[in-house]
Structures are given as structure tokens and as C-alpha cells.
């Protein structure tokens, strides 16, 4: 009798833990705004979060892609260029580790924007992707006009600038941006830092579970 009481107690405790368990969710990054709307005579205030705007960019197969390619999916975005001698190889080496783990996971995509709009044509991007070891369409490499790409970088909160004084001719920050299916940025990680890469691996699982529990 005493034992069964103990058992019930343990089961209750375990269930309690499950329900009360802290399911961590990621923050929503970027500027936010509020809108007030009148619903049934009452004022309702909603928060409007920063979202990645519509885009149309040329990928490594010379196909125009839009946000619709990422509909319903989480994706990781970054900015680079193929002959970048400084941080890009380290960034892409690290992103490749994430890609290697998730390349067959349909819930996740990868999007690398080239900021070298002069040199990185689709064929250059295609050759780069193949040499890097990208074997399917889940990792997109895109190019566009300077206004398009640099404008998007601002929305992803990534610094990009043409600068003849830096090696390679373009200056930029090496962040990976974790974007949710609602086009909101949920995390930013220094792509050249091993600890930050581990954090991305952890956060990615949290975000994927948020949308596909």
C-alpha cells in the first residue's frame, strides 16, 4: 500500500514536471510597433513585429526566387561573396556544418546572399556551391541588384558596404540570421565564432519545435 502511494506520488510528480516544464521560446528581434484597432467597441492593441519584406532574387540556377520558396519553413540567411578573402570562408565552413546536419530536413532552408553584384553571377555561384559541397536545392545562393541586396541586408540587420580599403573590396558583418516561417528574425549568430555556432544549433532545434512540435 505504501509502495503504491509512493508510485502514484512519483507519477504525479513526473506529470507535474512535464506540464510545468519550461519550454523555451526564442525572442523576436528587430524594431516593433503597435496598432490599435476597434473590435466590438473596444480598443485592441496588437504588436507588429519586424518582418523580412518581399524579395525577388536570381539563384545559382538563374531562376528567380521569392519568399514563397521559404513558405512554412525556417531558414538561415547570411551575406558573403565568393572571392572574399577574410571572414567568408570561416562563415561558410560553419554554415556548412549546419547544412550537413539538416540538408535532408524539409523544415529548414539556407539562403546566402552575394554582396558582390559585379562578379558573382549565377554561374559563379553555382560553381562555388558545388565546390563547397552543397548537393541539393535546400541551400540557395542568390544575387541581385546592389539596391536589392544591400536593402535586404538592412532588413536582416547585417552591415554591408562597398569599400576598396578592405581585402576583397566589400565590408560586411558575418552574422547568421535565423528566420521563422512568419518572416521574423528569431536569432543572430556570429558566423565566425564556434560558441555562437553551437548556440545556433541549440536555438534552431527550439525554433523547429515551435513550428513542428
Amino acid at each position: 500500500m505504501r509502495i503504491s502511494l509512493l508510485l502514484i506520488g512519483t507519477v504525479l510528480l513526473a506529470t507535474g514536471c512535464n506540464h510545468g516544464g519550461t519550454t523555451k521560446t526564442l525572442p523576436i528581434l528587430g524594431e516593433r510597433d503597435t496598432v490599435s484597432t476597434l473590435v466590438d467597441g473596444k480598443t485592441v492593441i496588437d504588436t507588429v513585429y519586424k518582418r523580412i519584406p518581399d524579395f525577388e532574387l536570381l539563384n545559382q540556377d538563374s531562376v528567380l526566387i521569392t519568399n514563397s520558396l521559404f513558405d512554412g519553413r525556417v531558414y538561415i540567411a547570411n551575406f558573403f561573396f565568393t572571392h572574399c578573402p577574410s571572414i567568408c570562408p570561416t562563415m561558410q565552413r560553419n554554415l556548412l556544418k549546419v547544412y550537413e546536419k539538416y540538408k535532408h530536413d524539409d523544415r529548414l532552408r539556407f539562403l546566402s546572399h552575394s554582396i558582390d553584384f559585379r562578379h558573382d553571377s549565377p554561374s559563379v555561384l553555382k560553381a562555388y556551391a558545388e565546390k563547397l559541397g552543397v548537393t541539393n536545392q535546400h541551400w540557395q545562393f542568390v544575387t541581385g541588384s546592389k539596391a536589392d541586396i544591400y536593402g535586404l541586408a538592412d532588413h536582416y540587420m547585417v552591415y554591408t558596404k562597398e569599400d576598396s580599403a578592405v581585402p576583397g573590396g566589400y565590408d560586411h558583418s558575418g552574422y547568421f540570421l535565423l528566420v521563422d516561417p512568419e518572416r521574423r528574425i528569431r536569432g543572430a549568430y556570429d558566423g565566425t565564432n564556434d560558441d555562437q555556432l553551437q548556440l545556433l544549433f541549440d536555438d534552431l532545434e527550439i525554433l523547429l519545435n515551435e513550428y513542428t512540435p
Partner: protein, 141 residues
């Protein structure tokens, strides 16, 4: 007779001590080159070739192909200084990505970094003395 023995003994001891100190002098110099070379490697080479010399896919070749390094010992300094373009076979694969030149590196710095690479990642090439590197650099194509 006894004096001769002592003299020979002293001479042998002297030789031994000199030999030992020479050897450790060389070892110390190599260790210095490797330490300095590691800093230069992390600043100028590691982004592409990796912290463990593993390279990156088929974009950038690994620095673990000891046979390649040994057979190109006389060209390595010029490769670092002037960069490389065109196809090259490393690790049984063909790579064809341009390597940028490093004109800012002094000959002694190239000697440091080659000694680091040549004695890391499974390579055992010994020291690349500054004099050897300078001689190679004087004859770059």
C-alpha cells in the same frame, strides 16, 4: 697515460656538450619559428585552409597532403608570396580556386608560417630557415 685518458675523456665530453647545445639551439629556433608561424597562419591562412589545415570542400585545398608539400618544398615560399591560380592536384583532388598573393609578408614571416605548416597537421618537414626561404624567393617566376 693517465693524463692522456683524462684529456681524451675531456675532449669527448666537450664534443658531447657542444653537440647537445647545437641540437637544442636548432630545436629552439624551430620552436620559435612555429610559434611565430602560428600567429601568421591564423591571420592570413586559417580562414580558407582551416584551423586544422583541413581546407574547405573542393574550394580550398587541405594542407595535410605531406607528399604534395615535400615535392613542392622549393615552390611553397613563392606560392605564399605571389598567390596561385590554375588547377592543381592536392590530396588526390583537383582544385582550381585562385589564392590571393601576400605581398605584405616579409621573407622571415614566410619562413615562420611555412615552418608552422610544415610541422603541423601531420607534416614533419623540419625548419624552413630564413636563408632557404630568401633564396627561393629570389628565384620566383
Amino acid at each position: 697515460m693517465r693524463n692522456t685518458c683524462i684529456a681524451i675523456g675531456a675532449a669527448l665530453l666537450g664534443l658531447y656538450v657542444t653537440g647537445q647545445s647545437c641540437q637544442s639551439g636548432e630545436a629552439i629556433r624551430t620552436a620559435q619559428y612555429i610559434t611565430n608561424g602560428q600567429k601568421i597562419y591564423s591571420m592570413h591562412c586559417q580562414n580558407c585552409h582551416g584551423a586544422r589545415g583541413e581546407g574547405l570542400g573542393n574550394l580550398y585545398p587541405p594542407l595535410t597532403d605531406t607528399a604534395f608539400l615535400l615535392s613542392h618544398r622549393q615552390q611553397l615560399a613563392c606560392m605564399v608570396k605571389n598567390g596561385i591560380s590554375g588547377p592543381m592536384e592536392v590530396d588526390g583532388r583537383v582544385f582550381n580556386t585562385e589564392m590571393p598573393p601576400n605581398p605584405q609578408l616579409a621573407p622571415v614571416e614566410i619562413a615562420y608560417v611555412l615552418t608552422y605548416i610544415g610541422n603541423s597537421f601531420g607534416n614533419k618537414m623540419g625548419i624552413f630557415p630564413q636563408e632557404e626561404v630568401q633564396a627561393v624567393l629570389d628565384n620566383c617566376n
